[in-house]
């Protein structure tokens, strides 16, 4: 794990993936200790619950969480665009974001592009 100024880098040594969490996603991740529920996390962070659900969705999709999230932002029927409209355009920059990549092996780096070249996964 590496703490940057506004981001957090996580390296998964089992799956050989590196993840970059923006400050919102990182804040939610830090509070995922298996004891707090979504309402409590939202209360601590002073953010909307839907935002926390979205962060959990991002974290789950990236494989950063240990367990599956029982409910997701999708169950609210909200897309990212709809959520932004709900919480306000000005808060758009607070949307959680997780970028992930597969860390290449030694022989993979210089090969010509193939159907399975490492792709950056941005949610």
């Amino acid at each position: 794990m590496r703490e940057l100024k506004d981001e957090l880098i996580l390296y998964d040594t089992t799956m050989k993936r590196a993840h970059c969490l923006n400050d919102t996603a990182a804040a939610v991740w830090r509070l995922c200790d298996g004891r707090r529920n979504v309402r409590e996390i939202a209360h601590v962070l002073e953010k909307d619950e839907e935002l926390v659900w979205m962060a959990l969705q991002e974290l789950e999709d990236s494989g950063v969480l240990n367990r599956d999230v029982p409910q997701t932002i999708r169950s609210y029927g909200l897309s990212r665009r709809e959520l932004v409209m709900k919480i306000g355009i000005g808060a758009a920059v607070a949307l959680p974001m997780v970028s992930s990549i597969l860390v290449p092996t030694a022989s993979a780096a210089p090969s010509p592009p193939t159907k399975q070249s490492p792709r950056r996964v941005r949610r």
């Binding site: 590496r2 940057l4 100024k5 506004d6 981001e7 957090l8 880098i9 390296y11 040594t13 050989k16 590196a18 970059c20 969490l21 923006n22 970028s99 990549i101 860390v103 290449p104 092996t105 030694a106 022989s107 780096a109 210089p110 090969s111 010509p112 490492p118 950056r120």
Partner: protein, 287 residues
């Protein structure tokens, strides 16, 4: 005669056969933390190979090695000194090059050593990237093969930048960029005559430099350079994606990249002509 114990847990049949030969010339070295053994059937074959090793290699007298190179050369003098029959092996007993061209043997050794060091180094992070410096500010251009990074490096050199590498950016654990210059290739015969950057009239970096600019770009013909600022996290991911030994040494990778990008601007986006991008970057650094 000293012996070199390769680190392979069990020697292959080919290596055992080679072990039975006479090796009067033996060298044991470390290159960026990678331990190599080099043995030859005559002293005269060791020096040309040593000259191909990146500068700054140290000598290592004991401990297991990562790869053993064995060179068997033709010691019978011939009219054309360059034409020698050589066999070239490494620890798995694989023949890397052979035949009459000594230049082929040396080139093959250099290429294999380069990949070995880049993928196994324990004390430096190797990234597929072009690297130059402008007024002591290092510029790193990560990219896979044929992504246009060499063209962009050349564009920077034409503006007067100092050459660090057109293939690998080498970062130590403090995030400092080290030079890894390779001789440039010019119009030549089949052997591919190489000329050092200095012979080209280009300054080559010697001392480590602090990274001030990272350019994560890909070349798309016809487009204009429209750079966008990226975050430090995006820079780290982009550089990991082009690294060769990050998977082996993730702690080193994260440490080196965090420190390298702490004070660096990171730009992303597609680019058109290399000259325009290089000019823009230099003006940006001059501010």
């Amino acid at each position: 005669m000293s012996t070199i114990e390769p680190s392979v847990p069990s020697r292959s049949r080919q290596v055992k056969k080679l072990d039975r030969l006479h090796w009067p010339a033996i060298a044991r070295l470390t290159v960026y933390g990678v331990r190599i053994g080099l043995r030859a059937n005559a002293l005269e074959f060791i020096d040309p190979l040593l000259s191909r090793i990146p500068s700054g290699f140290g000598t290592e007298s004991s401990g297991p090695i990562d790869r053993l190179y064995s060179v068997i050369g033709d010691t019978k003098p011939r009219a054309d000194e360059k034409r020698r029959d050589c066999n070239f092996h490494f620890a798995n007993g694989r023949r890397l090059a052979g035949g009459t061209s000594w230049e082929d043997v040396c080139d093959s050794f250099e290429a294999d050593l380069e990949v070995l060091v880049a993928t196994r180094s324990r004390n430096a992070l190797f990234i597929h990237a072009g690297a130059v410096s402008w007024k002591d500010k290092a510029i790193v251009i990560p990219g896979e093969s044929h992504s246009g990074k060499t063209t962009l490096v050349q564009a920077f050199l034409e503006l007067g930048a100092t050459y660090y590498s057109d293939e690998f950016a080498v970062l130590d654990s403090e995030g400092q960029l080290h030079p890894f210059p390779r001789a440039l290739r010019v119009r030549s015969n089949l052997a591919g005559k190489k000329i050092s950057a200095a012979e080209f009239g280009v300054a080559t970096g010697v001392a480590p430099a602090q990274v001030r600019l990272v350019i994560l770009t890909r070349h798309v013909p016809g487009l204009r350079w429209r750079p966008k600022a990226l975050s430090q996290g995006e820079a780290i991911l982009g550089m990991i994606q082009n690294s060769l030994n990050a998977q082996r040494h993730p702690e080193l990778a994260l440490s080196a990249l965090q420190r390298a990008t702490d004070a660096a601007h990171v730009l992303g986006g597609t680019r058109g002509e290399a000259k325009d991008t290089a000019r823009w970057a230099v003006q940006h650094l001059n501010r």
